[in-house]
Amino acid sequence: MSELAWKTDVQLACSGDREAFSRLVRQMQNELYGMARTLLHRDEDCADAIQEAILQAYRSVRKLREPAYFRTWMFRILIHECRRIYRKQKRVSPTDAIPDRAAPDRESDLDLKDAVNRLDEPLRTLVKLHYFADLPLAQIADIMNVSEGTLKSRLHRARRQLVKWLNVSERGEIGYEC
């Protein structure tokens, strides 16, 4: 889709055109799934989050004040929904969090991913978006509505915490919560 076609569809979607809105979502579906997949474990949860994000976005797209930020706005809704599902999951059986796909992860990856999951918000989401979803800080800053400087500071804190945990873990001084 050309940039012009994208802008036109955003404008149409903001005026209530369902087809244009659908085209935008289809255009973004790889990115939406990629983001959801970094924040959630199971495809079923990703589908739930994306579905709810689509419905919320469609309900409020006419209120979008700046159409140029449609993509960022959509991501923001999705992240909010992923966090909600994640919080809900933390309260249920840990077996629910088993990934759908055969995990190709190396053992050390699992260590690291578990450590990332133990980070508090907003550090956890920040690390996942920046490293796992490979989003540049500028885009995350738009999505999370904070400055890049703040993000760098948070990343520094997150890395410091992860190093601390992983070093302790390597010495066998801590187990895993689940």
């Binding site: 012009l4 076609a5 149409l12 659908s22 190093v163």
Partner: protein, 460 residues
């Protein structure tokens, strides 16, 4: 572990994460989209920002996609995907409208007559007018089928007209969808509107602006706020602006076969052919075969009179989504359309042919531009007009040849349009009458037709 090692491990995890959407998620997305309430029929109530002129115009519609070539860069073993070619098809057809109302042969007769009446010779201009700087612009019909636009206009000046260039922008619902006149590609101002005109007198000319590509593909609202903002006519800068409420029309003629599918195999399934006053649309789904070389799959459209409507590269259908290929409006003389599957083996090489234009080429004394050892481009005419330069060529059978026009002193001349119908060639921006020109041609590979998969659609 130190911070540096952590950084590396985090980045490596990111690289290993795949993001292809699994079928279950894709299906859920489609179901969600299908369940959204439809608000598109509600007429937009936004206030018009400008109202220099107002008129209500009817609009016709069929469909379209961005015409052009885009390569699928695929890698894998080369296999001939044409192996299961079926017999040549002549499809029995049903004819009906989008509204499922049965149409008779009268509808194609009406469509042909409508298209004939839209021609410059047979259509008068009597709509709203705007004057500035002693130049009067009047609009005639505005036809919008949601994928293509045609705008009839007339320009009259108090002074004799010598320069027929027109510069302006077309906006739909506040979004600029294309430009008229000299293209400023560097600024993203692509002249997607063809401007055909005839000179009525020394102080008047009339024409039709029509889309050549469709950047606003799928503009399907029932009502569209159409704006035409002309900023220069000839050498005179000014403001001739129109704000028009245009209603979209259904296609005049829709053809499907009884099984609702022209299955031509090879991954291509043509489900519908629709025709309006301003475009011809083919609805299809397409799943390309795996191929190791760069291969572009497309369809060309021509009719029984030899009129060529151009070629469109096929898009791969995601989740069974129907795509649309748009072509120019039906040639009124046509009795049948021929859909010709074709594939291009895309081969970029550094071999370019150059030829200086030392004399005006003619069909009997063409300019031959050699490309490498065994290919050539044959130029039969170069027409230097005040608003454009038309370069006519012969159809290069079996070859995909592109070419550019250079003004030796001022660089590359921007492309405005591509010729179609009974003609072949390109339209470029204007050049000085004494400018030294050079044509640079390039071969992009071979094109191969698949006659056994061609589909002929007889018009009722």
């Amino acid at each position: 572990m130190n911070a540096e090692q952590l950084e590396t491990r985090l980045q490596n995890i990111g690289k290993r994460e795949g993001t292809s959407v699994p079928a279950t998620v894709a299906e859920r997305i489609e179901l969600t989209l299908a369940a959204l309430p439809d608000r598109s029929a509600q007429r937009r109530t936004a206030r018009r920002r400008r109202a220099w002129a107002a008129l209500i115009a009817s609009a016709a519609i069929v469909g379209g996609s961005i015409a052009g070539y885009s390569a699928y860069n695929q890698e894998g073993a080369l296999e001939n995907p044409i192996g299961q070619a079926g017999p040549s098809s002549e499809i029995p057809i049903d004819v009906h409208s989008e509204n499922e109302r049965l149409r008779s042969q009268l509808s194609v007769y009406e469509l042909r007559e409508s298209i004939r009446r839209m021609s410059l010779k047979e259509n008068s201009v009597s709509g709203a007018g705007v004057s500035d700087q002693g130049i009067h612009v009047r609009l005639g019909y505005i036809v919008n089928d949601g994928y293509a636009l045609a705008i009839r206009y007339s320009i009259t000046s108090d002074q004799p007209i010598k320069d027929f260039n027109l510069k302006g922008a077309v906006r739909l619902d506040g979004q600029t969808v294309g430009y008229v006149g000299q293209a400023g590609e560097d600024e993203g101002e692509y002249a997607v509107f063809r401007n055909e005109y005839t000179i009525v007198s020394s102080t008047q000319y009339e024409g039709v602006l029509s889309t050549t590509y469709y950047p606003f593909e799928g503009f399907r609202m029932q009502y569209t706020d159409f704006e035409l903002a002309v900023s220069r006519i000839g050498t005179v800068d000014g403001e001739w602006e129109f704000d028009v409420d245009v209603r979209r029309q259904d296609p005049s003629l829709v053809i499907v076969n009884p099984q609702n599918s022209f299955d031509v195999s090879y991954g291509l399934n043509v489900s519908k052919v629709s025709m309006s006053k301003v475009s011809t649309r083919i609805d299809y789904t397409f799943k390309p075969s795996a191929s190791r070389i760069n291969r572009v799959f497309g369809i060309e459209l021509e009719d029984d009179t030899g009129y060529r409507y151009g070629a469109v590269a096929l898009r791969e259908s995601a989740n069974g989504e129907i795509s649309h290929a748009s072509f120019p409006a039906l040639n009124p003389e046509a009795n049948s359309l021929l859909i010709r599957p074709v594939y291009w083996d895309w081969k970029i090489n550094d071999v370019k042919g150059r030829a200086d234009v030392k004399s005006v080429p003619t069909p009997n004394d063409p300019l031959v531009v050699p490309i490498g050892e065994d290919k050539e481009l044959i130029v039969t005419a170069i027409e230097r007009r005040s608003d454009r330069t038309v370069v006519r060529t012969l159809f290069p059978p079996g070859e995909v040849v592109g070419f550019s026009l250079y003004d030796v002193e001022n660089g590359k001349v921007p492309v405005i349009d591509t010729l179609y119908g009974k003609e072949s060639g390109m339209v470029f921006g204007p050049v000085e009458s004494e400018a030294k020109l050079q044509i640079v041609a390039e071969s992009f590979g071979k094109s191969t037709y698949v006659p056994e998969l061609e589909v002929r659609v007889n018009l009722p």
